[in-house]
Amino acid sequence: MPAFILRRIGVMLLTALALTFIVFSLTNLEPNLRKLAKSEGSVRMEEPEVQSWLEENGFKSSMLRRYGEWLGVMPGWTREVDGAMRGRCIAPGSDPATASSFCGVLQGKWGRSTVFKKPVTEILGRSLGHTGWLMLWVMIVMVPSSLLLGVLSGMREGSRTDRVLSTFAIASTATPEYVSGVIFIALLASATAGISPMLAEAGWIEGRTLFQGTATSAMDDITFWNFGLPVMTIALYGIGYIARMTRASMTEVMTQQYIRTARLKGVSASPTW
């Protein structure tokens, strides 16, 4: 068993290495680098200026070498420009002598995003936090409801409940998130259509809509009002899938001997599961 786990971990690391290399090389293709040079330098740069900008910023070495630098297994590039030392690991304004020679992902130096003008770690951490909250709530909604659906429809295969629930499960797997999102907004978060105007008229909800159409405010404070729709949208796609799997194993279990024995002993259908 430990050998098996070790081998799988090895394959996993190899996959991660290959994947990062592919993504790295795709983003570091020549036309992409020219675009970067133009957005970092100036839009009106001519071809020779673009080339010299790339040269000065260390984008001219080979792809493998740059990947090694990014990973942190090769020393970062250094070069003298206008009498000052510049390099991958030398932050602008700091003393070149104190800079370490390796700086890559393995050393925890993830670099700086040129789009957001912030360190990559900070952006990733922030997004990871938001995604984590979203996934937590999705799981809280998705797992119990899909298990319930699957068990209910799997208990009596072919019954009317089963047919209805199975159709619902198929329909929800057939609806991609961007479609169900649109439909949910139309039904629940529009001030002109769906059920929100009716509810508002009846005075059952404060404000004009049942849910909020955008989740931007959920970044600071999660409420049912602003977070309900995103959670519902993501959970719906998974509910159908998990419910179908649960149903399949449930129907299998229901045919087994011990269920029949329990039934014969007079146990009603519900507590057996």
């Binding site: 394959v11 190899l14 996959t15 290959a18 994947l19 592919i22 993504v23 795709l26 983003t27 293709l29 020549e30 036309p31 992409n32 675009k35 198929i170 329909a171 797997t173 057939a174 609806t175 991609p176 961007y178 479609v179 649109v182 439909i183 907004i185 139309a186 978060a189 529009s190 001030a191 002109t192 259509a193 159409g213």
Partner: protein, 377 residues
């Protein structure tokens, strides 16, 4: 009501198809048996509805899907034209979008776009998956390890990220999609060549005829589709479309590969395969003419499901603005266009959303029906 009337050619075609299918259902094998399963029948009806809509799109649309009429911006469904003319259809049946185009015509034309790309891409993915999956499952060993690693690599890739990397103008500039296409489009030719070669090896005259036809037709289409250098100009593909197409095939084929590999590993142990081996048949003959026909049930079901996923994928691409072209009426881009004004004007986004949902639902139900019917015997 007028919407239903506009779909008249579709209704006629549907009725004709079903009457004929019912009449001859005993002779039609699996398809005939589908007529007896309610779930499959509903699925088939929805799918056929969209197929016929795509076929007769030219007769159904009321306006040019790109035409912008003044005074019709974001107008509600069923509104009459602002400045009616003699020749024009008097209503915007499903309203207008933010550029004053007719939503109804765009959705109908979108069906044609989606049904052109999705099944074709799925067929190519199946060709790649089958051609690689058969030997991987049959021979096993190093080949299997290598191919499975590649397949897992592609499967481990987040699809959206891959598309963001592949479907950009910069990548088109490097010619990378063309190399991808060159690799992926060769598989159908390889597949059919080996197919005929292994079958008619003992009959060189017919073998040469069939393989020859395959190679000539194949490379003719190949030169046009992959390199856009068809001398007659019959086969050609817009570079943007090629890029989308190749990416979709690339993402889908590992899935097919794994299914085929699993099926082959299961069927390999059967008696008829051993009989073939004892007769001295070549491995490719056994794979293509003994194993593949016996694996067709699950493959047909997966084919239906996979067209659905491909449709979703194409929609996702369009939704992220990576579609074929910004003007294109395909459903994903239309939903994305309509999304921006969603809280005020619903119809430009909801109509294509419902269309996409119903097509995928139909394909799923059809797959379910097929599975039920093929399990029965």
């Amino acid at each position: 009501m007028q919407v239903i009337a506009r779909f008249l050619p579709v209704w006629i075609a549907l009725v004709v198809t079903f009457v004929l299918s019912f009449r001859f259902r005993r002779k039609l094998g699996l398809y005939g048996k589908l007529m007896e399963s309610p779930v499959g029948l509903i699925g088939l009806t929805i799918v056929l509805f969209w197929v016929f809509t795509a076929l007769f799109a030219d007769f159904i649309i009321t306006f040019d899907p790109l035409a912008q009429l003044s005074g019709m911006k974001n107008i509600a469904p069923g509104s009459p034209l602002a400045n009616p003319t003699e020749s024009a259809y008097p209503y915007y049946l499903f309203g207008g979008d933010h550029l004053a185009r007719d939503v109804f015509s765009r959705v109908v034309m979108g069906a044609r776009r989606v049904l052109q790309i999705a099944p074709a891409a799925t067929v190519f993915a199946f060709m790649v998956g089958i051609t690689l999956g058969l030997p991987a499952g049959y021979f096993g060993g190093k080949l299997d390890t290598f191919l499975s690693f590649l397949a897992n690599l592609v499967l481990a890739f987040p699809v959206i990220l891959l598309f963001y990397l592949l479907v950009t103008p910069e990548i088109v500039e490097t010619g990378l999609p063309m190399y991808f296409a060159a690799v992926l489009f060769i598989f159908p030719i390889v597949f059919f060549s080996i197919l005929f070669n292994s079958r008619y090896k003992t009959n060189p005259a017919r073998r040469n005829l069939y393989v020859g036809i395959t190679l000539v037709l194949g490379f003719w289409a190949y030169s046009g589709l992959a390199f856009n250098r068809d001398p007659t100009g019959l086969f050609s593909m817009d570079p943007n479309l090629l890029n989308v197409f190749v990416s979709v095939v690339f993402v889908n084929s590992p899935g097919v590969f794994r299914i085929v590999r699993g099926l082959v590993m299961d069927i390999k142990a059967r008696d008829y395969v051993a009989a073939g081996q004892t007769r001295g048949e070549s491995p490719w003959y056994i794979m293509l003419w003994e194993i593949l026909p016996n694996a067709r049930g699950p493959l047909i079901v997966d084919f239906c499901l996979r067209i659905g996923y491909t449709t979703i994928l194409l929609g996702t691409l369009g939704f992220f603005g990576l579609g074929v072209s910004p003007e294109s009426p395909d459903w994903g881009s239309t939903i994305d266009d309509g999304r921006r004004l969603l809280s005020v004007y619903l119809h430009p986004a909801v109509v294509p959303a419902l269309a996409l949902m119903s097509l995928v639902l139909g394909l799923n139900l059809l797959a379910d029906g097929l599975r039920e019917e093929s399990l029965r015997d």
